[in-house]
Subunit: 253 residues, 4 copies
């Protein structure tokens, strides 16, 4: 049984800030956003969590093993070093989607994302250490079969990107609807999905769906662990086995 | 008449590097990728260009005004500070898609993206200063109407993201196919498109298409300039006018 | 009784790298060095340690509470994200100077700092958790009395800097020779010293020495803790008390 | 005849900010300071300038070729991405010390470094392009003879640092007093000095003085250029010649 702990990270009142008193230079916003994401990757990553950039002003972290004090420290570290602050909602659940649903609600109840008086909310309940287990996280690392040969070395970069993006857009929706999973593009031709306790058949189904819908061929390695980093590294090794033996779905456990 | 200069940025042999001798920790890859993007944003941005993260291992820059020497310096600065190197293809064209097509071909002709012996290619021809003009770039800044009220404050963050992502996936394909434009998600509910010389009707058409296809309501501000940063700032101001007066399409020129 | 754990961080073969095949641009070296230091500050800091930039190619960390596995991860994270690697020597001792002496020897025994075949050494023994204690670290936070009024707002910035630097140069030597302490300039008019079990009289003596030798008036707050961050935060609060009540030496314990 | 343009960079009201409402975590301050320095290195460096970290809350840039608009952009870029702002004073002079003196005065006249109402001052006059010349900057790059063999591989890191630091403290004071030069430690065993029009004898004198005073043996390469980056790269090459032929002073011009 999985038990995913999810943190919804939301920059406070970010939209209005980007245009007040007048629009800020885009290159600075891009630099700010991507560096904030890089820092959060390290801040959560050094505690065995994963962060996904999602929309950059809203990010999603898989935070099993990270308690409220650590969340406070992350929040403080950001406010010490950035011109913006962020709010955090933390929740857990058998299904990653439900966990995120609760995490988001904690923030929504505290006020709008564009409420200038709602700042540095920190709400929610991490999993107590005694209840953590080796199968809390199931993480699937997908990539596109022969992406370099088929796309990167053949099409212009935007058309390659359209293919990868279509594969992602289709997978993210299908995995969310059919399998209560959260799927995130992580660069190149890689997608990482945080899943409930799915079996091989579920992954075969998702890969088949994407193939049928947009003609993009995926494969996937699946890992399990008490933390995102453990499950994620296992998934990477399983994906390497796919590459080696030509399989479409490989479980590390 | 637009005359877009595009730089295709490709990390050399990146995929193999990420798994050699065995898979590298995902948080480090995420940090590396997003910081490299942030640095390129500044390196091009300080020369009035824009960079889009696209797939992170392949990025697209709008580089009008940036000559070959500056490209060399950017390439060298990255190799001085990162464990990876990158190749650059530079090309220009009336249509951004054609320009990118040529830029990509310059890299493809030099070898595969995963050829371990192809390193730090720099090919192509920037626009000579004497031929630069105030209408070289047409840049459109889209956002989603009432995204905070309709999505962020109402749905869980992933379902919000699905809506934004669907809007983006639809727009990027339509603008590429119907209008030879390159559209990039830049965070939040914002999309920036680099366009040929399009009129208001073309933008209305694209917005209508996205609304019909996936029920996401966009609006857009359009700017023009000799550089991405000039056109981009004008587009932002035009988008602010949309916000103020409720229009769907606003031109800054 | 203090028990300081020190990590000597040394970039492998850095000098030769900076001039091979020919001298690299200074701004890139400065960026590389200061970002590596910033990253190490976070990597150690997120585990309650402190890092001091010292000479940038060699840095000193106070690493109580950070085990060998964490050191490995820090080492790997740097090699995943930088064009250089680093070696680490870890040692402990009643006296910070002795601890650093042992840490440095571990690296020296493995080869020269400019031996191109000596890479990513990791040697030494952290303190086992069961032997850690609340008084393992004694940390002193010095600053210069009225630095803004007396120097910054009165002299040109270089002459201000000469005064601060003279105060630092004198203190670092005296504290090392007379009190077996390691003192580091941390910006502004601030110096942090890692000390053995010193009493108030020792600090009064050091402050008096600096005043006599170079006419720079210091004050100091002293903290104690099982980690650098605990001791450091206590020292800051003690220094705030000095500011409030005009004392020259304040202990937080 | 040299004509050095100097920018005094001062973080506004930084000291009070670091302890309000209570002391901020030192690792965050260190990260903030070193990243701000890294960013300024790139922002000025991409325009052929050099920045020196000095005290981190006050920095000194050699900014020949960087006009007021570029200074404005740098100032804005920092305020867009950091929780602090900075003021800039720009001045020029035959002597680097005089130029910095004027630059500092521009800030002092606008208010105290700790005046909470003095924010983002930008004052001063860059050199007009028509008056720039190839010998505007004279830059000397010193290092310590055989630092690795004599210190790094023999002493504990702090005692090595004491030797390097003593050499620097002595050189910085002597070069300022005797030769109107600004000398900055840049890591490792390297010191960069910005000088007026000095001859070989002046450098021999300074090296001899440091040798006599603190028994640290320096050598130096000297470059000249219209910008810091040009003069700096020439100085590096000259220093490489010193290494090759055993000379103590080498001019690139």
């Amino acid at each position: 049984m999985t038990n995913t702990q999810v943190t919804h990270i939301q920059i406070d009142n970010y939209g209005p800030w980007t245009v007040t008193p007048e629009p800020r230079r885009e290159v600075d916003l891009q630099t700010l956003q991507s560096r904030l994401y890089a820092d959060l990757s390290q801040l959560f990553g050094n505690r065995d969590g994963y962060v996904f950039f999602t929309r950059f002003d809203n990010m999603v972290a898989i935070s099993n093993g990270i308690d409220i004090e650590a969340h406070e420290l992350v929040q403080e570290s950001v406010s010490n070093r950035y011109p913006v602050t962020m709010s955090l909602g933390v929740a857990t659940g058998r299904s990653p989607v439900n966990a995120l649903g609760t995490a988001t609600e904690l923030l929504q109840e505290a006020g709008s994302a564009q409420d200038q008086h709602r700042r540095e909310i920190l709400k929610g309940r991490p999993i107590d250490d005694e209840f953590r287990a080796e199968d809390d996280i199931q993480l699937a690392h997908f990539d596109v079969d022969n992406a370099t040969e088929k796309y990167t070395d053949e099409l212009n970069e935007f058309d390659t990107f359209i293919n990868i993006e279509q594969g992602y857009a289709e997978l993210m929706q299908y995995m969310r609807r059919a399998h209560d999973s959260l799927s995130f593009f992580v660069g190149g031709d890689n997608i990482i999905a945080i899943c409930p306790d799915l079996d091989r058949e579920a992954y075969r189904d998702a890969i088949e769906h994407v193939k049928q819908a947009v003609d993009v061929q995926l494969k996937v390695g699946v890992g399990r662990g008490a933390s995102a980093s453990d499950a994620g590294m296992d998934a990477k090794h399983a994906l390497e086995e796919c590459r080696a033996d030509g399989k479409r779905v490989e479980f590390a456990f």
